[in-house]
């Protein structure tokens, strides 16, 4: 595991709290959206945007930037929050999420939101899109890296495995997939809806380098990305074990909060819990 300073980890943890507050405010404000899967992805997205990705908020189209593809498009609140805090657009704009005339669509739209790299909504298309990006980098002999965040529900989709085969065929070591393994999809537990295990063995069988980590532990998340960058000749899949709704006591592991916003009372409690957590960092 890499040597990460306590200060770096503290800063990332503070950012994660900040992003979670944005997620709660955005979804509460419009009374829709998907807080649960945004919260399970928060450490992964925070680590990428505040430590790993080479991106330039002032020049979102910089040709040699790393690409972050969010295949689980419903979790875009955490993406928008990270982009805003990273400076791609004003933080104030976050409260336009899902409202009329907004640049922050209910599911990501390419070309409208600064920093958004892919369209997503229908599940299971993002890894294929990432394979296309990674192939383009290879054609041009460019060093940038593609990171694709998938939900575990997306492992149901046939196209995910079409993409997995293609990435292995071309030995795309400039592609890293992260699977947010929170164990819950819209209608229930993944293992009840469509059993996925043994998931790591599946990805290994598809000729990927596979890591399994605690997706809320920044040291493990950062180390996994470093190992992915070091791994040559094949793509890396990081299975990040996470908790849906992570960080808010009444949301954690609750199927309901896949796609439900907070009530007024829950909203106050959620922000109070995040404030309390922040005070301990």
């Amino acid at each position: 595991m890499g040597d990460y300073s306590d200060e770096l980890i503290r800063n990332l943890r503070r950012k994660a709290v900040l992003l979670r507050k944005h997620i709660i405010r955005m979804t509460h404000n419009v009374q829709s959206g998907h807080p649960g899967g945004s919260m399970s992805s928060t450490e992964i997205v925070t680590a990428l945007y505040f430590h790993v990705l080479r991106v330039d908020p002032k020049n979102p189209g910089w040709a040699n930037r790393d690409r972050f593809v969010m295949s689980k498009g419903h979790a875009c609140p955490v993406w928008y929050a990270a982009l805003a805090e990273r400076g791609f657009f004003p933080v104030d704009e976050l409260l336009t999420f899902r409202k009329i005339n907004s640049r922050l669509q209910g599911h990501p739209e390419l070309g409208t939101t600064p920093g958004v790299e892919n369209p997503a909504g229908a599940e299971g298309q993002g890894l294929s899109f990432s394979v296309g990006l990674a192939l383009a980098a290879r054609v041009d002999h460019e060093p940038w890296h593609v990171y694709c965040l998938m939900g575990d529900g997306e492992q149901d989709v046939g196209q995910t495995w079409e993409a997995a085969m293609a990435a292995a065929k071309y030995g795309l070591d400039n592609l890293t997939a992260i699977i947010d393994r929170n164990g819950i999809q819209q209608e229930g537990r993944t293992e009840d809806i469509m059993p996925l295990e043994p998931l790591a063995e599946k990805w290994e069988a598809f000729n990927w380098h596979v890591l399994t980590i605690d997706g809320h532990d920044f040291r493990q998340v950062l180390a996994a990305f470093e190992e992915a960058q070091r791994t040559k000749g094949r793509p890396t899949a990081i299975i990040a074990r996470t908790v849906k709704g992570k960080g808010i006591s009444f949301m954690e592991n609750k199927i309901k909060y896949h796609g439900a916003a907070t009530t007024q009372e829950e909203f106050r409690q959620a922000l109070a819990e995040l404030d309390a957590l922040e005070a301990t960092i």
């Binding site: 040709a63 690409r67 739209e109 390419l110 070309g111 790299e117 892919n118 369209p119 997503a120 909504g121 229908a122 298309q125 294929s128 899109f129 990432s130 394979v131 296309g132 990006l133 990674a134 192939l135 383009a136 980098a137 054609v139 041009d140 046939g158 196209q159 079409e162 993409a163 085969m165 293609a166 071309y170």
Partner: protein
């Protein structure tokens, strides 16, 4: 007017493959993806010329379309080539979300469109793709009439920013145009002038419209024949002018009449200049196995049926 034919019969796929290679030489950003049909499509010729820019993704068309979108998002001009049933209906929502919505530079070139696929039967006879693709916002839809026009579509698609869908036939088709003829997306081409009736066709039905025009001329009826190679956007001025000047329109397509070019022409004329119309095409049915010409005959996609339709419409219009 010169008589229709005899024409040289040529492969649209052969023109497609050659045009891709020529484009690849000129344009280093062109890449090509395939799905285990590249030899048949002739896109493999590009793969042989530029192996680093060609990707065979296996029988996985949804992945192929999204990979093309990713390549395009990174600045490539991505051609995705396969059979039309796979490059349209099978991948419709992938095209919708990953190509049309983000307006990416993906060019879907689909052969084996329509009944003329022949013995492979109904599963492979894609008679619904023009309507499906026309329904997508931001999508351009091209239906070249012959080999040379297929090559022109390759160049025009590459030169235009944004998504393009182009469909053509497996069967050899009559060569009506030349590589020296102009081709512009959004323009319809008058192949024969006349002021009594307009025959608007696309794909291999353009030649059949010309044959029908010959037959009509023998009865003293001068038909204007229009090649609607650009099914979206449609050349509204040319179509509206034909309707105004002739007062009668027959459309002909190797596609269902439910939502093909006939329906498109009817809806624009209904707003602009309503005239009596008739629609030659596949009548809301699936095809079957058979040779291409047998199928076109059995399902009513012939010069004779166009001629009959013309007489019906002229009767409606009144002389």
């Amino acid at each position: 007017m010169t008589a229709a034919g005899p024409w040289k019969m040529e492969s649209q796929r052969a023109y497609f493959g050659r045009a891709l290679v020529e484009l690849g030489k000129r344009e280093p950003d062109v890449v090509v993806v395939g799905a285990d049909t590249s030899e048949s499509l002739r896109s493999l010729e590009f793969g042989k010329a530029f192996p680093d820019r060609f990707f065979n993704l296996g029988i996985a068309e949804p992945n192929m379309i999204s990979v093309a979108a990713g390549l395009a998002a990174a600045g490539k001009i991505a051609f995705a080539a396969t059979y039309s049933v796979f490059g349209s209906a099978h991948t419709y929502n992938i095209i919708r979300q990953n190509v049309a919505y983000p307006k990416l530079n993906v060019k879907i070139f689909s052969s084996h469109a329509g009944l003329s696929v022949g013995p492979d039967g109904a599963t492979h006879q894609m008679n619904e793709d023009i309507g499906l693709m026309r329904g997508l916002p931001r999508m351009t839809v091209l239906v070249p009439a012959d080999g040379p026009q297929t090559a022109k579509c390759v160049d025009a698609a590459a030169a235009q920013q944004g998504p393009v869908y182009c469909r053509f036939s497996r069967a050899n088709v009559p060569t009506l145009t030349s590589l020296d003829d102009p081709f512009t997306i959004g323009k319809a081409y008058v192949m024969r002038d006349g002021s009594d009736i307009a025959l608007v066709g696309c794909g291999l039905m353009v030649a059949r419209c010309l044959q029908a025009a010959d037959a009509l001329a023998r009865n003293g009826i001068e038909a204007r024949v229009i090649n609607l190679a650009s099914a979206k956007p449609i050349d509204v001025p040319t179509i509206a002018k034909a309707a105004r000047e002739t007062g009668a329109v027959v459309t002909a397509e190797e596609h269902t009449v439910v939502h093909g070019i006939g329906a498109a022409v009817a809806s624009l004329l209904a707003e602009d200049h309503p005239v009596p119309m008739a629609f030659v095409g596949v009548q809301d049915v699936f095809g079957e196995s058979g040779e291409a010409d047998e199928l076109l005959e059995k399902y009513g996609l012939t010069a004779e049926k166009i001629e009959e339709a013309a007489h019906r419409v002229l009767k409606l219009r009144g002389a």
